[in-house]
């Protein structure tokens, strides 16, 4: 059960601040809802995690005649992007927000239209506003140069616009303008069937597909009071670790391209490819689409598949060890990583960093440890933590976590062999009406939180997806003070998805 505090909108900042101050809570997700049809105005839900993992929700409702509330960001900086999203998507104004610019909606979106309001028809296209406003602040001064990059980048990567301001090669400020791949997935989920929601959740992001599908399934299972069996839960955990492995191994390889170490890119790329072909062989899909479903899983891992995973995981682990050792001995590469792109511990903590980026800056956050899910039990995974906060630390966290995952996969396979044949998916009945639930999964990039609300007949009325790529808010802080040519390296060390963030 989630502890709930209902407060007035005016009391939100003090209630949230008190929870953080008195009970060491941290914000895991914040979402806004349009509940005008239920006569409750706009809903604001701030969900916190306490140090031992329990969740606390602080909720307020806003009068639609006066759609505003005092910004919690003023006392809790981690809320900054969430509250900007609420302003864009629902038209509820966070009063006194230090940065009230648009976040999701771009310059040419007309004023006064808010996609997540229930009276907005998401199927319609909207004319472009001919009077766009400029959302970037920029840097001005003698000798200051601005370098605009993107949204279309030079490599095979996702789109986003970066504006660097600095003198010579030294970057003073990075402004990132994202949400180019915003596809309206949260709007599309309104009124969608449970099954349609699953296929949307798998396609929020290709590289975190299974994590998102499992987080969605967890939220649905809570609302349907359905409990996946042990066999299904172990299969979920095995495949989630395989997802982490192909990402972590591939991310180490791609880091080499940020420093033009092509041999490293190719050798690591072979290992990533081998892990993805392992996914295809045992689960039928290189990105593990179509594997999870609410209630359990859609695929079994039979004895032959388990043996294939076991043998490949041993072989690839040994190859990966040799590869990492060779990288660590390549001083011209490693020296580029030391002290580059440092993310300060206090900043990471205060702004709500998650995943590899948080752990490399000494902030021990890992959903697998704090809220164990699927087949994981408390104590099975401990967060891998480093304190330097630089590119090297983020690389080494990934390396160490990959080795943990190789071992964890084999441990889970042994458990799976002990479990007899069983129904792979528990039935999903009607969802409880007028409730909300959430699912949490540690994706390869960090904490993914899927917040789901139902209406009077148990239909999905709101699907809020907070992926680990919310870490994008932190990247500019790690870039300031570095050299412009180090940006690709810093960016690849965070390795965030645009698609996960933009939705």
């Amino acid at each position: 059960m989630i502890e709930t505090q209902n407060v007035t909108a005016d009391a939100l900042p003090e209630s949230c601040a008190a929870l953080v101050r008195d009970r060491q809570a941290r914000l895991v997700v914040m979402t806004g809802t349009d509940e005008r049809e239920r006569g409750r105005g706009y809903g604001l839900y701030y969900v916190f995690a306490l140090p031992l993992g329990e969740l606390v929700s602080i909720e307020a409702h806003v009068d639609p005649a006066r759609p505003e509330f005092p910004a919690v960001t003023r006392v809790l900086p981690a809320a900054h992007w969430y509250e900007r999203e609420v302003k864009d998507m629902l038209g509820v104004e966070p009063r006194g927000h230090p940065d009230p610019r648009r976040l999701v909606l771009h310059d040419d979106w007309p004023h006064g239209l808010h996609p997540l309001r229930k009276d907005f028809d998401g199927r319609l296209t909207v004319e472009r506003d001919p009077h766009p406003h400029e959302p970037l602040t920029g840097v001005r001064g003698d000798g200051v140069m601005e370098v605009p990059v993107g949204p279309i980048h030079a490599g095979i990567i996702e789109p986003g616009h970066f504006r660097f301001g600095g003198v010579g090669e030294l970057v003073f400020q990075l402004e990132a303008r994202l949400f180019y791949t915003h596809r309206g997935i949260e709007k599309a989920a309104e009124g969608a069937s449970v099954e349609r929601g699953l296929f949307l959740s798998e396609r929020i992001c290709g590289a975190c597909s299974l994590s998102n599908a499992v987080a969605y399934s967890q939220a649905i299972e809570d609302l349907a009071e359905s409990h996946p069996g042990l066999r299904a839960r172990i299969i979920r955990s095995v495949l989630l670790e395989l997802e982490r492995l192909y990402n972590h191994v591939g991310d180490v390889a791609n880091l080499c391209s940020g420093a033009a170490l092509q041999l490293g890119v190719y050798q690591g790329g072979i290992l990533k490819e081998r892990l993805q072909e392992l996914n295809a062989a045992v689960a039928g899909h290189r990105y593990l689409f179509g594997v999870a479903c609410p209630g359990g899983v859609r695929r079994d891992l039979d004895a032959a598949a388990r043996e294939h995973i076991r043998r490949e995981s041993v072989a690839i682990e040994s190859e990966f060890r040799g590869y990492v050792d060779a990288l660590l001995e390549t001083e011209s590469f490693m020296e580029r990583l030391v002290g580059t792109g440092v993310l300060d511990h206090d900043l990471a903590d205060e702004l709500g960093a998650v995943g590899v980026a948080a752990r490399a800056s000494g902030v021990a956050r890992d959903v697998r440890a704090s809220q164990p899910y699927a087949a994981l039990r408390p104590g099975m995974v401990s967060p891998v933590v480093r304190t330097e906060g630089d590119v090297r630390a983020r690389m080494l966290v990934r390396v160490d976590e990959a080795f943990v995952s190789f071992g964890l996969v084999r441990e889970l396979l042994r458990e799976l062999a002990e479990v007899g044949p069983a129904e792979l998916a528990a039935p999903i009945g009607p969802l409880r009406a007028n409730r909300w639930a959430l699912g949490m999964v540690e994706s390869p990039r960090g904490e993914n939180v899927h917040w789901l609300m139902t209406g009077a007949t148990g239909e999905i009325t709101r699907y809020r997806i907070r992926s680990a790529s919310y870490n994008w808010a932190l990247v500019p802080f790690a870039v300031a003070g570095n050299l412009l040519p180090d940006f690709p390296l810093i960016n690849k060390s965070f390795e965030l998805c645009y698609a996960c963030l933009d939705r």
Binding site: P159, H182, G184, A188, E195, L200, R203, E273, R286
Partner: protein, 252 residues
Amino acid sequence: MLSLLRRRLRLATATSRWPVVPAPLIDRAQPVFDAARCDLNGACARVCPVGAIGVDTRFALDRARCISCSRCIEVCPTGALALGLVFAAPERTRSELIAPPTGVVARGEELAAHVHRVLGRSLNVRHLDAGSCNGCDWEINATTNAVHDIQRFGIDFVASPRHADVLLVTGTVTRNLEIAARRTYDAMSAPRLVVAVGACAVSGSPYPTGYASGEGAASILPVDVFIPGCPPRPEAIIEGLLLAVGRIVRAR
């Protein structure tokens, strides 16, 4: 660096032998259809999350929209649909993608016979993400790894549309990328080709068209080749690029 080189010397050749040897069999390929067992009951069309199946007078699968979720196979009461094992082939027109799936076709030999022409010239490709989930983009990336090694076909990726012969488009063309996508195409010099990669770019599926998401590359650009799949395998992407420049002759 020396240790990386030493390691390289110990590694065997990683590059796949495709297309001489067929791509690995995968069971999340698009479904195969057996007309003799179909009674047009429509169960498949009702569960398809992307509206890719029609059963009015005969079964028709829109391979452009299909995301290989295999729900149709799970619900088919007559066993007319089965898991496909071979990736869906790229085509030159959108309409060629709407057909009863033809089953297992060995294309490896056919492709290999024409690969020798590849060496005659090079093809420069510019990737454009027009609003995808990044699955297709990672698969395009995988074509450049040592295993798929797209460069062995004379194909390479370039940083600027000014240098490109082909625009390789992923994603639905979102509202926020439409202008950038048009500008990228406009920056290319003629002759230029457009290849759409994946269900989103090919048809707009699986996201609903609306305030944010568009209807795919063909809604704003002249597309020369459509590569279906969610996402297409690296081999399918390479095959689509070879098809775009006439390096593959299809036996029909």
